[in-house]
């Protein structure tokens, strides 16, 4: 059933005034319109424009988060600027990613890449998480610069490279200097890369990783973690063998 955009004026007025504890049923027509927009490009464009406008307004955090949730379903390149503007906002960065991570538009990925170099601390981890979820190989050089030392960011950067699990990511991981939790994340990521290599038929490359990690952990590790890594290497070597 076609939805008249004018019928959404009142629900969007309710959204502008919405806050936690408010009557969410007043927003139900927007929910329904988002679903109906699948078959109505005009409605979709109108909704996207209105939802993006909420992000730049004086609406509450709750209202902006609601808008991000809806944009995550129907958003396109058109709403990327409004969301990108929130990536550095400690309160709304996550919900901006909640939407952008789901966008197929390359502009969304570009916005996350750009933000990776412009935010700090946990927000950087957020960008890493979303870029990895989007399997953005182009971000590997930028991610590579973060895998150093023993910070949570370094660990997350290693994690991201493991999720990307490409030969390029494997090269980066083989050359990094880390310690502590970041070093453990590097091991996990290298194992992920090796598994991807086995699947891709690059068994010799995979074996090289498994052998290096196996050597590092030793023949008789004394911790659960060490034994698990050794187990992963043994399994990997088995999988990477011919015949």
């Amino acid at each position: 059933m076609a939805i008249d955009p004018a019928s959404l004026d009142a629900p969007f007025a309710a959204l502008a005034a919405f806050d936690w504890g408010g009557d969410a049923t007043t927003l139900a027509p927007i929910d329904a319109a988002v679903v109906a927009a699948h078959a109505d490009a005009g409605l979709r464009a109108d909704l996207e424009k209105r939802l993006a406008a909420v992000l730049g307004s004086q609406a509450s955090r709750a209202a902006k988060q609601y808008a991000c949730r809806k944009l995550s379903l129907i958003g396109s390149a058109g709403s990327v600027p409004a969301l990108a503007a929130l990536l550095g906002d400690k309160e709304l960065s996550h919900m901006a990613r909640f939407a952008l991570e789901r966008y197929a538009a390359p502009e969304a990925t570009e916005a996350l890449r750009k933000a990776l170099g412009g935010v700090e601390g946990d927000l950087t981890i957020g960008m890493l998480s979303s870029l990895a979820a989007k399997r953005d190989a182009a971000s590997i050089p930028a991610i590579a610069t973060l895998v150093t030392g023993d910070s949570a960011v370094a660990a997350a950067a290693a994690e991201a490279l493991g999720l990307l699990a490409s030969p390029e990511a494997a090269v980066v991981l083989a050359g990094v200097t880390t310690s502590g939790a970041a070093a453990e994340a590097v091991v996990d990521a290298r194992l992920a890369c090796a598994e991807a290599m086995v699947k891709a038929g690059r068994k010799a490359d995979a074996r090289a990783i498994y052998e290096a990690l196996s050597k590092a952990v030793g023949d008789a590790p004394t911790t659960h973690r060490g034994r698990a890594v050794r187990m992963a290497c043994q399994r990997g070597l088995f999988a990477a063998m011919e015949g």
């Binding site: 960065s93 981890i125 979303s130 598994e195």
Partner: protein, 427 residues
């Protein structure tokens, strides 16, 4: 960027590799399940006399799980973790009472518990939005995991959890005690071939979870709200968001989509789990979910179609009436076959005569076998209600490509395969 230089390893074969492992005293491995022993892991303690355990998320189901493990010979329970003080203290008290000491450690942050190297295995019974992160972290730490159902919150989480379990050779058991405990009445005739070739199943259970707009209230001092939320979107504290009762009617985390799949995946984990087990579909995932719109008399319903032409209907308005050749469980599950008797198959029970899903897990921790509700089977099972929920949300039918773990030709549906996690959480 350059690709790694090719390095040629000795041309050992798998046969030679296992032969070398066997020379260390290891037992031969089945082709699919390669145990740590088969790979010559001589450093792993032998099938242990004592499994050291801790619990993460220790209220409600967590307390039940803890009691089950506490009562098990061979388990030494040493630590609890919960972001809520009351449950943390109650969990510690249960363990201390059992052992007559004050030794059980209590943690707010699960990472501290997982960092303890003396702990062999953990049970996890947090809200669903934490399951994947904690399970993967535990596997990386070399710990085995008993994970309450529903094991996943999103479709993407499943393969990541299975991958972590397999990579590190961990025993990861899902946690529906009812699948085998409650549904033998329908499982046995199906596996005995009495129902014939199964064509359709009807599941009656509640629907998907909801958006939560509860008002913010002052956060009480006995809960770490940031850690309770974890990867979920930040929302203000309200007890209706986080209280751990078993309801899904809007006054429990089980009601809300940031933390749970709702009744559809909560009780659904049991009902779908029982039906899928009875129909021997645990290795499969649906190829299609068909959305049936409301017809004026009844609300919408969704059918999940499997590659072997079996269909599971969720809340179909007029399911076939039970009776031969159908079997039913309390109106929640109906299974319909063609009535042409088939060759019976042995029902795969808990390992080595274990009497419960908890004992099954402990048995597998010792033997390194796959447990009854191995994480991969649990992930497959939960994929069905997750897909059904997405069909309800989008109000249309969808096709699923299992190999790609994606819906075919529906970009919006693929947006719902996962969700961004709040920083600093990443999987």
């Amino acid at each position: 960027m350059a690709t790694p230089a090719k390095r040629v390893a000795p041309a050992a074969t798998r046969r030679e590799f296992l032969k070398a492992a066997a020379a260390t005293g290891a037992t031969a491995a089945a082709p699919y399940v390669i145990t740590s022993k088969a790979l010559g892991d001589a450093t792993t303690p032998p099938a242990s006399d004592r499994i050291v355990m801790g619990g993460i998320g220790i209220g409600n189901m967590g307390s039940g799980d803890q009691n089950a493990f506490l009562g098990m010979p061979g388990v030494q329970y040493v630590a609890v973790c919960d972001v809520r003080k009351k449950w943390r203290e109650e969990g510690k008290a249960r363990a201390d009472k059992k052992y007559g000491n004050g030794d059980c450690a209590a943690y707010v942050d699960f990472r501290e518990l997982l960092a303890r190297d003396d702990i062999d295995a953990v049970h996890i019974a947090t809200p669903d939005h934490w399951h994947a992160i904690m399970t993967i972290a535990a596997c990386r730490g070399g710990k085995d995991v008993y994970l309450q159902k529903p094991e996943t919150l999103t479709l993407r989480e499943g393969p990541l959890m299975v991958g972590a379990a397999r990579r590190y050779g961990r025993v990861v058991s899902g946690g529906s005690q009812r699948v085998l405990g409650d549904y033998r009445g329908i499982v046995d005739p199906c596996w005995a071939g009495e129902v014939g070739t199964i064509k359709e199943l009807d599941i009656s259970v509640g629907g998907p979870s909801l958006f939560c707009a509860l008002p913010g209230l002052p956060t009480p001092p006995d809960i770490d709200w940031e850690l309770w939320l974890g990867p979920a979107p930040w929302e203000p504290y309200n007890p209706g968001r986080c209280d751990g009762n078993f309801g899904t009617g809007g006054n429990s985390w089980r009601s809300y989509s940031d933390y749970s799949g709702g009744s559809l995946t909560d009780w659904g984990a049991h009902h779908f789990g029982g039906a899928i087990f009875a129909a021997d579909l645990r290795e499969l995932q649906p190829v299609k979910v068909v959305y049936h719109p409301a017809d004026g008399k009844h609300g919408p319903y969704v059918s999940a179609e499997y590659p072997n032409a079996v269909a599971i209907h969720h809340n179909r308005p007029q399911p076939l009436r039970p009776g031969k050749p159908s079997v039913a469980h309390q109106g929640a599950i109906q299974i319909h076959g063609d009535g042409v008797k088939r060759e019976p198959k042995a029902v795969p029970l808990y390992r080595n005569g274990a009497g419960s899903i908890y004992a099954d897990f402990i048995e597998c921790v010792k033997t390194r076998e796959k447990p009854f509700r191995d994480i991969e089977l649990a992930v497959n099972t939960m994929a069905t209600p997750h897909m059904i929920a997405i069909a309800y949300r989008l109000e249309r039918s969808l096709e699923w490509d299992r190999a790609a773990q994606a819906f075919k030709g529906d970009e919006e549906a693929n947006r719902l395969v996962d969700r961004a996690r709040r920083e600093p959480w990443i999987i």
